[in-house]
Subunit: 340 residues, 2 copies
């Protein structure tokens, strides 16, 4: 007689029994709160969605040495991975439901790493009301590679899209911009800040703006989350909406830490506006909704407007004197700043 | 003014404009047939599911050098990746809907590779009626790493589970068993076969048994797909169902190629029964449904039964004389054959 094998794999190069045991021990409890995960005993998860709702599905992958630093604390890596996906759900005005997780881990990774990683996931599951629904755990001879497919719910027809912004719409952004990009430069040793911890924390722990979902559903005509950089992401919105935007650099909300850094070296304003990893929401509203939006007390700031004309898909950034600002997009391989 | 950036990423280490262009060129057309993908213009896909149905969600990852050979043809890698997921949907008696794809690719991978990979995906999308819904494309300093989260639909409450098999239920398996495991050994150079191509093809191109879904919904009391090996996967079913199984090795269906190989070296029967990568469905039915099942003409074979007693989660394999067979589980790191 043969005992049951302790897990599931796609090939003979499966993790060892010990590795399966570890994965079971650390990851299975994360699925306990979602009945559709079937306790991870089956080939797939099975669940319905409430009547009158649509499913919102987003996927993001992170590679050690590319998207995070290999010696980042595992709980921070877990938080970043989950939160970049949750930010996409927030950007679509969806509420979190469940997520699938792929871990590709070197064979020699320690129990301590996996335990801390799972603890980070568990904390964020509680904080954001999402549960593990399944996934796959494989070993790799390469760097730690993680991906999440996150699912959320939105009332049918109410998902927030990038298209839909009209001429004259006002451009708003949530929270503060630039902290994460400056924090990354502090970690890389290319920037010294008097108060670096809040900047580093924003880089390591994005804050998905799920609390903004009711406000977005009520007011936003278009929106997305800021991952590539404020200017680039607003350009995405303009591109899909077929509009041009003008924003005032002096109106872009900065944290106290970022303001101190930019005050000492104004060239860093370019990093703030184009650096990315903000995971704030940039969105548009009709001008007539401005007062009602601000009356909600949501942490959002008006930074510009969509022009009645202008080249679709373009963003013009004005300095405090109203003159177009030239931006350096240093560090970006795919973002090419054109003539201002 | 700034032109729109050509894509989306999670960090400053984003693919270059050229890489985004390639991904757009090769992967975007794969989403054209699924309206919920929103043309891949937004942060997420958005779609409803039909009333009276549940969503079935499965995730599998493949790593070059671990789950496929690095110089395997890219279209075969695409087919394997999609089909292992489709096999999980078939095992749950679900029909394919859409999938999310993560590609982690070395920067120096050529256009030819990506084009052939996308062609393989497109062919399978047509063959199996599934579409790309979104995903992420990142670069990696490590091996090619791919993952798919596939979604399917099943009438509410009709998903096929691993639990649910009762005492006396008959054990059936679809198709033929062992071809892929023998094919892998041919590719690895540890086995010579007179007719190796069908074996290699089964290793490289799993055949998800989606055509069996109506039959499974009608008759199966429990089931799963055979990826870890027939004996190990049947043991999974027994474990979750709380039953013991006895199967007759001589009844396990072999292809002509596999029969020839095992005829020359009977020790390879162990490879056939435990080797894995079959992607057939092993399932149970009530004995009273046997004739009706066989009358459907489905390509399925009775190989054993669930015992009224016996240690739950165990599988006993009998040889042609009715004596318990000792199996070697060579090549498996997580499958431990106990005393027969």
């Amino acid at each position: 007689m043969l005992p049951p094998a302790p897990g599931k794999s796609t090939s003979a190069a499966a993790p060892s029994a010990g590795e399966f045991g570890r994965i079971d021990r650390y990851l299975k409890p994360l699925a306990a709160g979602f009945s559709g995960a079937l306790g991870l005993t089956d080939d797939a998860a099975v669940f319905g969605i409430p009547a009158g709702h649509e499913l919102v599905v987003t996927t993001d992958a992170l590679v050690a040495g590319v998207h995070f630093l290999p010696d980042d604390p595992p709980a921070d890596i877990a938080a970043k991975m989950l939160r970049v996906n949750l930010s996409d759900l927030a950007a679509m005005a969806a509420e979190p439901l469940a997520y699938s997780l792929v871990t590709s881990l070197p064979r020699d990774i320690g129990d301590d790493w996996l335990a801390a990683f799972a603890t980070g996931l568990a904390e964020d599951q509680r904080a954001y009301g999402i549960h593990l629904l399944g996934g796959d755990s494989v070993s790799t001879p390469g760097p730690i590679t993680l991906s999440v497919t996150a699912m959320g719910l939105v009332p049918t027809g109410r998902a927030l899209r990038r298209g839909g912004a009209g001429p004259g719409d006002l451009v708003f952004v949530s929270g503060t911009i630039g902290d994460a990009a400056l924090g990354l430069r502090v970690l890389q040793g290319t920037l010294t800040a008097e108060d670096p911890d809040p900047l580093i924390d924003r880089y390591r722990r994005p804050r998905p703006r799920l609390a903004l979902v009711p406000v977005l559903r009520r007011f936003a005509t278009a929106g997305l989350d800021v991952s590539d950089g404020l200017v680039a992401d607003l350009a995405h919105l303009c591109d899909v909406s077929g509009r041009a935007a003008v924003i005032d650099a002096s109106q872009v909300p900065l944290s106290a830490s970022a303001r101190a850094v930019v005050g000492k070296d104004p060239r860093l304003l370019s990093t703030v506006l184009t650096g990315g990893d903000d995971y704030e929401i940039v969105f548009t509203i009709r001008p007539t909704d401005r007062d009602a939006l601000l009356a909600t007390g949501a942490e959002v700031t008006a930074i510009g407007r969509l022009e009645p004309d202008g080249v679709p898909g373009t963003v013009t950034v004005l300095d405090a004197s109203g003159a177009p600002l030239k931006l350096e997009a240093a560090g970006w391989t795919h973002f090419q700043a054109g003539p201002a």
